[in-house]
């Protein structure tokens, strides 16, 4: 269990699930969750590559991951705020309903 492919498989699985959620779900919260999944799959990639392909003394991948986690937290906060406002304005979180700008 100590090779790179296993981690890459896991991360691509997570990414695929995330993208599937983003494409198929109508619920804004579910879409946001899909995005979080994709971000985390990227984190796994960073850690795995750092672990298997470079000097162990270097922690570049880890640093990236921590940054992404911080970003993801901020993003989630902003996105949830938008979703709450959306719900307040149109009474639903279904993204297809939010079509006022469509010509």
């Amino acid at each position: 269990m100590d090779n790179l492919q296993i981690y890459l498989l896991l991360s691509s699985l997570l990414f695929s699930l995330g993208i599937y959620a983003v494409i198929s779900r109508q619920n804004a919260v579910a879409i946001l969750m899909g995005i979080e999944l994709m971000l985390n799959s990227a984190n796994i990639n960073f850690i795995a590559f750092n672990r298997f392909t470079s000097n162990l003394n270097h922690l570049d991948g880890h640093v990236f991951s921590i940054f992404i986690i911080v970003l993801a937290a901020a993003e989630a906060a902003v996105a949830l705020a938008i979703i709450i406002n959306l719900f307040k304005n149109i009474g639903t979180v279904n993204v297809n309903e939010a079509s006022e700008l469509k010509g």
Binding site: I19, V22, I23, S24, V95, N96, S99, L101, K102, G103
Partner: protein, 732 residues
């Protein structure tokens, strides 16, 4: 700038300023606008008197004023403009200014009430400007420029009453006939430019060059005759004299100035200016032209009934005299006659204008519009009504007829003496010159007294007209008095016979000393034997036949000897002998003419009609009456064939070339453009260009559906595309 040059230039800028003023602002002062003009011309007259005074005091012929500047340069071609006044120029300036000033004064009454009064004064200003330009010019090109300008002002003045068809026609005729001469003159100028590589139009340069270089005499003769052609046109010599009698359609005072005293004399003046470059052959041709003109015009003048026509032909005849004098080499006599003629002929014209003015008023009062106010047959006996006019005209008639103590006698006598001396020297065919001269003198005396007697003596032809006649106002009579006074010989010479003795007469002194030379074709081996110079004037000390090279003109002696041309100054004994013969002969012929005139018209001893019918056996009377049919001949030989060919050409041009050929090209073009327009619109525009538009429209309708507005569809599309790109990259 030299103050003298500024003074001299005033002869140009004052009249042209008056022209502009009268043309644009003349209407402001109404009738009083003429005061502006006369003040301007009066200043000119004062300056001219100043110049003349210097000539009078300081007899040697040196330039009073001279100055020139470079006008334009192209490559190595230079055109200078400049002025120079020598004694001859100063005297001519005085004549022009005096006549111009008097005519300005006279016209204020003569033209009173004319609807284009200010324009008349504008034209007078323009004329004075151009005439002064000719006199001042120091180069032949500048003469030519002003030459054309006097032609223009003459055209404007003749056609001043252009509502009259005859006046409009006469102005066109004058202009076109003058063109014929001017073309010759222009070619002459071009030829002179290349004489001996002078490459200068300056008169003194050309004369210097001609004197100091060997030049083909045939070339110089042709150039000289061509230059003289300009004078033939302007001075109304045969065969281009036909415009001058018609020019009498213009206002009479302007006729007096332009067509009697100054402009027509410009031709003579120009020929005098180029005199030193004229060859013997050219001068011979000039002499014959002048002599035949003098005789010919005098014969026509006998039978004319229009008072102005008589004077017009008389002018042509007197100009012929001047040209004859130039031709026989009597430089001084020609210029002398120019000056005296300007005085008495201007006076004659102004006096006839005074008569016409009075007749016109009288006819106007009678509401008679059919009687011709200029026809002498309607006059008669008006001496008592118009005494001042009568005496002025009588004095000037005596002058022109050549009666002693009047100016015309001395000047005409000098010319006749020259012609006679010329015959004595050369013999043969040249006997025509004195015969024509004396014949014309006799005829002149005859027709001038015929004019006086028919107009002023005898019984009035129509009492009603006679009753209404009146003497002209003083502004019209003052010029008559001044000019007739100047027709006395004492103003020009202390002696009756001024040219025989250098000690008498300021005129001979001022003019005679400078230019008495003619280019001789000296024959080392050619057949032109003796020289022909016959300056009878003022060579009291140089009584011997001698040749004088002009060493003062820096011609080396060596050069002169080898040159074909050199300049001789002859005093021939023949001229002196001829002088007294000429004087007695001219007295005789003038007396005969006057006597005959009195017999026929005053005492009526001879019936004029019978004499006419006697001459008419040979159709002589008809010939003279109809001016030798010259106009008809020109009409038939030149005008009608020209018009005929013009009509034919215009028919070919319009009916065939224009209507058929040019128009068919147009029609073809319309047809072709119709077709190509169809192709352009139906195919290119409708199909191809619109096709692109339609295709874009169709495609965008299809593509529009992709823009669903659902973000997830876009993401899916992006994902699929990414996968495809990755697959493609892997394949590569």
């Amino acid at each position: 700038m030299d103050f003298n040059i500024i003074l001299a230039l005033s002869f140009l800028y004052i009249p042209i300023g008056l022209f502009v003023y009268q043309l644009f602002f003349g209407h402001i002062l109404k009738h009083n606008t003429w005061y502006v003009s006369i003040v301007g011309i009066g200043i000119n007259l004062a300056v001219a008197l100043n110049f003349f005074y210097r000539v009078f005091l300081n007899q040697p012929d040196d330039l009073i004023v001279s100055g020139r500047f470079n006008w334009l340069t192209t490559g190595n071609f230079n055109l200078d403009l400049g002025i120079s006044i020598d004694n001859m120029g100063a005297i001519t300036l005085l004549v022009v200014s005096l006549v111009s000033c008097l005519v300005h004064l006279y016209s204020s009454e003569y033209m009173r009430g004319d609807s284009r009064f200010s324009r008349y004064y504008a034209f007078l200003g323009l004329f004075t400007f151009s005439m002064n330009g000719i006199v001042l010019a120091d180069s032949i090109t500048m003469i030519y420029i002003f030459w054309e300008l006097v032609g223009l002002s003459s055209y404007l003045i003749i056609g001043f009453w252009f509502e009259k068809k005859s006046a409009a026609m006469a102005s066109k005729k004058a202009f076109l006939v003058n063109r014929v001469g001017d073309i010759g003159m222009f070619i002459g100028i071009m030829m002179i430019y290349y004489v001996g590589d002078t490459h200068s139009f300056n008169l003194s340069d050309i004369i210097e060059k001609v004197k100091s270089t060997e030049i083909d005499s045939t070339y110089l003769t042709i150039a000289g005759i061509l230059l003289f052609m300009g004078a033939v046109g302007k001075s109304a010599q045969l065969p281009l004299h036909i415009w001058l009698p018609d020019a009498m359609e213009g206002p009479t005072p302007a006729s007096a100035m332009i067509h009697a005293a100054t402009m027509v004399a410009a031709g003579v003046y120009m020929t005098l200016r180029i005199f030193p470059i004229l060859t013997f052959e050219a001068l011979t041709a000039i002499a014959f032209i002048g002599a035949s003109t003098a005789l010919f015009a005098a014969i026509i003048a006998i039978t004319q009934n229009d008072i102005k026509k008589v004077l017009a032909y008389s002018t042509v005849s007197q100009l012929g005299y001047m040209v004859l004098a130039i031709g026989v080499g009597s430089y001084l006599a020609a210029f002398f006659h120019l000056v005296t003629h300007a005085m008495f002929k201007a006076c004659l014209f102004l006096a006839s204008g005074s008569v016409i003015h009075s007749m016109h008023d009288s006819l106007h009062k009678l509401h008679d519009h059919d009687t011709d106010p200029q026809d002498m047959r309607n006059m008669g006996g008006i001496k008592n009504k118009m005494p001042i006019t009568y005496y002025a005209m009588l004095i000037t008639t005596l002058a022109i007829a050549g009666v002693p103590f009047f100016s015309g006698f001395v000047s005409k006598d000098a010319i006749l003496a020259g012609a006679l001396a010329y015959y004595f020297e050369h013999g043969g065919i040249t006997i025509f010159l004195p015969i024509a001269g004396f014949g014309a003198a006799a005829i002149t005396a005859f027709y001038m007294f015929r004019l006086i007697i028919l107009t002023f003596h005898g019984k009035p032809k129509n009492d009603k007209i006679y009753e209404n006649l009146h003497e002209s106002p003083s502004f019209m009579t003052i010029p008559l008095i001044i000019l007739s006074a100047l027709s006395f010989a004492v103003f020009f010479t202390g002696s009756v016979n001024p040219l025989s003795d250098g000690s008498h007469g300021w005129f001979a002194k001022a003019i005679g000393n400078g230019h008495n030379y003619v280019i001789e074709v000296e024959s080392h081996d050619s057949h032109h034997g003796n020289s022909h110079n016959d300056y009878e004037g003022n060579h009291s000390e140089e009584t011997h036949h001698h040749e004088k090279t002009y060493s003062s003109h820096n011609v080396s002696h060596d050069k002169t000897e080898h040159s074909n041309y050199h300049f001789t100054e002859h005093v021939s004994h023949a001229a002196h002998a001829a002088h007294y013969t000429a004087m007695y002969l001219s007295l005789l012929v003038a007396g005969l003419g006057i006597l005959l005139s009195f017999t026929v018209y005053y005492f009526k001893k001879l019936n004029a009609d019978k004499i006419y019918s006697f001459f008419n056996i040979f159709r002589l009377y008809d010939l003279s009456k109809n001016k030798f049919y010259i106009d008809e001949i020109y009409s038939n030989i030149i005008y009608k064939p020209f018009m005929f060919w013009s009509v034919i050409s215009s028919k070919i041009d319009w009916d065939y070339y224009d209507q058929k050929f040019i128009d068919s090209i147009g029609k073809l073009t319309i047809f072709a453009s119709d077709k190509s327009g169809k192709v352009d619109y139906d195919w290119l525009d409708q199909k191809v260009v619109d096709g692109f538009g339609n295709f874009a429209n169709y495609m965008s309708l299809k593509m529009k559906k992709l823009q669903g507005g659902v973000v997830q569809t876009y993401i899916l599309g992006g994902l699929v595309t990414l996968i495809i790109i990755i697959l493609i990259i892997q394949q590569i």
